[in-house]
């Protein structure tokens, strides 16, 4: 599981039988107490998503069903919309979105360098714009690529079992490895796995720090901090019969001379799943409006992948975001 905290947003991703949405109230309380965000105001954007669970009966309320999760979210946020994407008999994906409510109007702080531009007089580097909505058409860039993989190739999955990992002394630590918080050998083992599997080569030319951990007897998590302000995160459950791995990133591949197809191919080659789904979500910009097919729908994700056949492809336009959902199956 992972938590990413930026000045303006947070991302919390948890697996197993964790109770993420139970923590929503305490989380919003903390934002109110320490950041002064009014409790009665709606956040600017809320996204909640998950793949269909493998063992829903073992989840704790409200995570036993999508209906209960949506009810929990609707209890906290206004204007929420929920979606089920993909074949409900196979791998499918759930998404909940909430934007600003109608009364989401409050003064904002704008500092030089803002992509939104300052309004009003500047004093000590800061201006205050009264009563402006944080509007949906604000010029900002946001994209998230997620790859959810099941039925991992056993040879590839075994790389994430602690008894298969070479000793720490016999390996050079990854040059991108993060220092550990404690003496748990899982940190060192995580660094080794990061290097041996090629996870540190997904973005080989970018400045990155990868914080990795190997669980005993198996399992792996890592957070990659890329160019200070972007992230990727990987979580692996390698046990045969219910093996699973996920990759998620907000690194804008195109900005760094890569394509999402490049990234997907690298990640899939690390795990060689029997099946996987990919979601790519991005806010739309002017280029997309003028040529939506070439700018977003077709260029962003691969139609072919060596050793796999694409089984589904779904496009959505969700407010000011576009979403592509595709699924692949291995030609085994």
């Amino acid at each position: 599981s992972s938590l990413f905290v930026f000045a303006n947003k947070l991302i919390l991703k948890t697996c197993g039988t964790t109770t993420l949405l139970v923590g929503l109230g305490p989380l919003l309380d903390a934002v109110s107490e320490y950041c002064g965000f009014p409790k009665d105001k709606q956040p600017w954007r809320v996204f909640y998503s998950r793949r269909s669970f493998m063992f829903p009966d073992r989840q704790k309320h409200p995570h036993k069903s999508w209906k209960d999760e949506v009810a929990c979210l609707d209890n906290k946020f206004a204007n929420g919309s929920s979606y089920v994407i993909g074949d409900v008999q196979k791998d499918h994906w759930y998404l909940y979105l909430a934007g600003p409510s109608d009364d989401c109007t409050f003064p904002r702080r704008t500092v030089p360098g803002s992509t939104l531009g300052a309004s009003g007089s500047v004093s000590n580097g800061t201006s205050i714009t009264n009563g402006h909505n944080l509007s949906a058409d604000a010029p900002f860039d946001d994209e998230t690529l997620e790859i959810l993989m099941t039925d991992l190739n056993p040879v590839h999955a075994n790389q994430f079992c602690s008894d298969r990992i070479p000793g720490v002394e016999s390996n050079n630590m990854s040059s991108v490895g993060a220092p550990a918080d404690d003496e748990d050998p899982g940190h060192d083992q995580g660094n080794i796995v990061t290097k041996l599997t090629g996870i540190d080569q997904i973005y080989p030319t970018l400045k990155q720090t990868v914080d990795s951990f190997c669980f005993t007897p198996c399992g792996y998590s890592c957070n990659g901090v890329v160019n200070q302000g972007n992230y990727f995160t990987i979580h692996v459950t390698p046990e045969q019969g219910f093996s699973y791995a996920s990759f998620e990133t907000n690194v804008p591949a195109a900005k760094y001379g890569m394509s999402n197809a490049d990234v997907i191919e690298k990640v899939v080659n690390i795990f060689r799943p029997g099946r996987f789904s990919t979601t790519f979500m991005r806010n739309r910009n002017e280029d997309d409006e003028s040529d939506p097919d070439s700018a977003f729908s077709f260029r962003c994700l691969p139609s072919k992948l060596n050793g796999y056949q694409r089984t589904e492809r779904i496009l959505y336009e969700l407010g000011d975001y576009s979403l592509v959902f595709i699924t692949f199956e291995a030609n085994r």
């Binding site: 947070l10 919390l12 697996c15």
Partner: protein
């Protein structure tokens, strides 16, 4: 297996402003990063996760969690 582990995650993303330069008035300049680690740990206790390690950059704090 009766010990099968649920790998698929829940994913929550909350934005309080479009970017770090445009925080709501009243929020500190560091925004959500003003929240102390111990408070995040209390929130994560409710979620049933523990912090294993943290990496920080000029733009973000990244926590690897248990489970």
């Amino acid at each position: 297996s009766t010990d099968a582990f649920e790998g698929p995650e829940k994913l929550l993303e909350i934005w309080f402003a479009p970017d770090e330069h445009c925080l709501p008035y009243g929020m500190p300049e560091s925004g959500l990063r003003e929240i102390p680690r111990q408070v995040w740990e209390q929130v994560l206790d409710v979620v049933q996760c523990k912090v294993l390690s943290v990496v920080s950059s000029s733009k973000m704090d990244a926590f690897v969690l248990s489970e």
